[in-house]
Structure formats: structure tokens, C-alpha cells
Amino acid sequence: MADTAVHHAEHGHHTSTGLSNNKLGMWLFLGSECLLFGGLISTYMIYRGRVGEGPRPGNVFDIPFTSVSSFVLLMSSLTMVLAVAAAQKRDDRGTTLWLTVTGLLGATFVGGQMYEFTAMYNEGLGYTTSLFGSAFYTLTGFHGVHVTVGIIMLFSLVAIIKRSNVPGDKAEVVELVGLYWHFVDIVWIIIFTLVYLIPA
């Protein structure tokens, strides 16, 4: 009996692969998300030069401001991984603290994106102004929605942990939310370079 228990623990999960089906599902989902963002990024790359009568990318982008936003999102990946490490040590206080900090950093990023969109709109770049505008707002808007969903997941997880109501392995639940969060970060790494830093 002891052997069986240890055997299960070594493999971690009672599945045919010995791996967590939840984690496998999350990686499969993230793989499919690559195709979604690949399509949006490709569309932007094709249409970024089609500015029509509207402003050009170089005229509306505020690179120093976006660089700070990017840095904030990048650092939220560090706080997320610290939350996962705390969850693995069964430190609920540390887990909720780092999850909250991650959520706040994410909210700062989304706030910055809303400010950026408002500034661009005031400079004459609406959603239907040009193909560049449509492709840009669709790509960065989709990413912003993903970050917002991530923030909701983070704060929901904090509430669930505080009520000690996490179903299954708590460390794994935090890790799954972490995988999603890191994914939105790596998508932004690509968007920041291809959309903002490489001029049209």
C-alpha cells in the first residue's frame, strides 16, 4: 500500500500519462492561442503600412511610455512565479500577497493601455480610420482582454484561497493561472518588438 502511494506521488497524478490532465489541457490551450495571436500579428504586419489619410504608426506611438508598460508586465511575471513558488511551499499568505501584486501590476498595464488608446484616438487614430488602426486596435485590444481575464483569474484565486476553498491541488491551480499569465507576457514581448519598436 505504501509502495502504491509513493508510486503515485512519484508520478504525481493518477492518469494514463502520469501527468496532470489539467496542466496538459492548459498547455494545449496555450498552443492554440499561438495560432490566434499569430493570425492577429500577421494581419497587423500586412496592414501596418496602410494608413490612408490617418496618422502613421511613428506619429502616434509613445515608445518611452509603452516601454514602461512593457517593463511593468515583464516584472509581473516575476511576481507570478514567486506566487507559484509560495504555493508550492504551502505558504498561503505569500501566495495571496504575490498574486495580488501580480494582479495590480497587470491592472497598471491595462490602465496604461487605456491611456494609450485614448491618446491615440485624440490624435486622430480611430478604429475605422485606416487598416493600420483597425489591425492595431484589434491586436492590442485582444491582448488587453487576455490580460484583463488574467487579472480576474488572479483576484478570484486570491478570494478562493482566502476562503480555503481551492478544489484539488492548490499549488497546481496557482501554477495553471501562472502559465496563462506568463503566456500573455510572452505575447506582449512579441507585440512590443514587432509593433512598436520596428517601424512600418
Binding site: A2, L19, L35, S77, Q88, H182, I186, I190, T193
Partner: protein
């Protein structure tokens, strides 16, 4: 007996998690490297890198991407099946959209 067995299994599982991760110091080091790479990326906006501008940016982007995926997402330490799941989607996306962009390049008037 059951309690001891469960505790043993619990410990082994905990150990399993710990082996997959890195130390806190390791995570902070990775974050500092990412911050430095981001600063280098942003510097290309202010400093003229000449013909190296595009390659430097693309290489930095790829390096940052793989650092986050390998260390923060633990793919480097995790089961290879997870890597297969993710990289299949990633390279499928790159292949499909490279072909898509090439179509626009070669077949449009």
C-alpha cells in the same frame, strides 16, 4: 500507517514540485536579465544600430521569449510532452503565417 503513507506521498509530491522550479534567487536573476534585455531593446529607439537594428531586435525578442517559457513557465524542467504541446502550436502558427505573409508578398499586384 495510512497517515504515514499519505505524509510520505505528500512529501514526495512536494519534492516533485520543488525539483521543477528554481530558487527565489534564480527567479530574480532571470528577471534582472529580462529587464536588461528590455533596456537594450528600448535603446534601439534612441541609438542608431545601423544594419544591426532589425537582427538585434529580433534576436532579443526570441531570447526573452525562450527565457520566460523555459524558466518562468518551467518548460525546461517539465515533462517533454508539455513542450511538444506548446511548441507544436507555436511552430504551426509560425509556419502557417509565414506562408500567409509570403502569399501576400508574391501573389498581390
Amino acid at each position: 500507517m495510512t497517515t504515514t503513507t499519505e505524509a510520505h506521498a505528500d512529501h514526495a509530491e512536494h519534492q516533485d514540485h520543488a525539483e521543477h522550479g528554481m530558487s527565489i534567487r534564480g527567479y530574480v536573476t532571470i528577471a534582472l536579465i529580462l529587464a536588461a534585455l528590455t533596456a537594450l531593446e528600448v535603446s534601439t529607439y534612441f541609438v542608431d544600430f545601423g544594419p544591426f537594428f532589425m537582427p538585434v531586435l529580433l534576436i532579443l525578442m526570441c531570447v526573452k521569449f525562450f527565457i520566460v517559457v523555459s524558466y518562468f513557465m518551467h518548460l525546461k524542467f517539465d515533462n517533454k510532452l508539455f513542450s511538444f504541446m506548446f511548441y507544436t502550436g507555436l511552430f504551426l502558427a509560425i509556419g502557417v503565417y509565414a506562408a500567409f505573409l509570403a502569399t501576400f508578398k508574391f501573389f498581390t499586384a
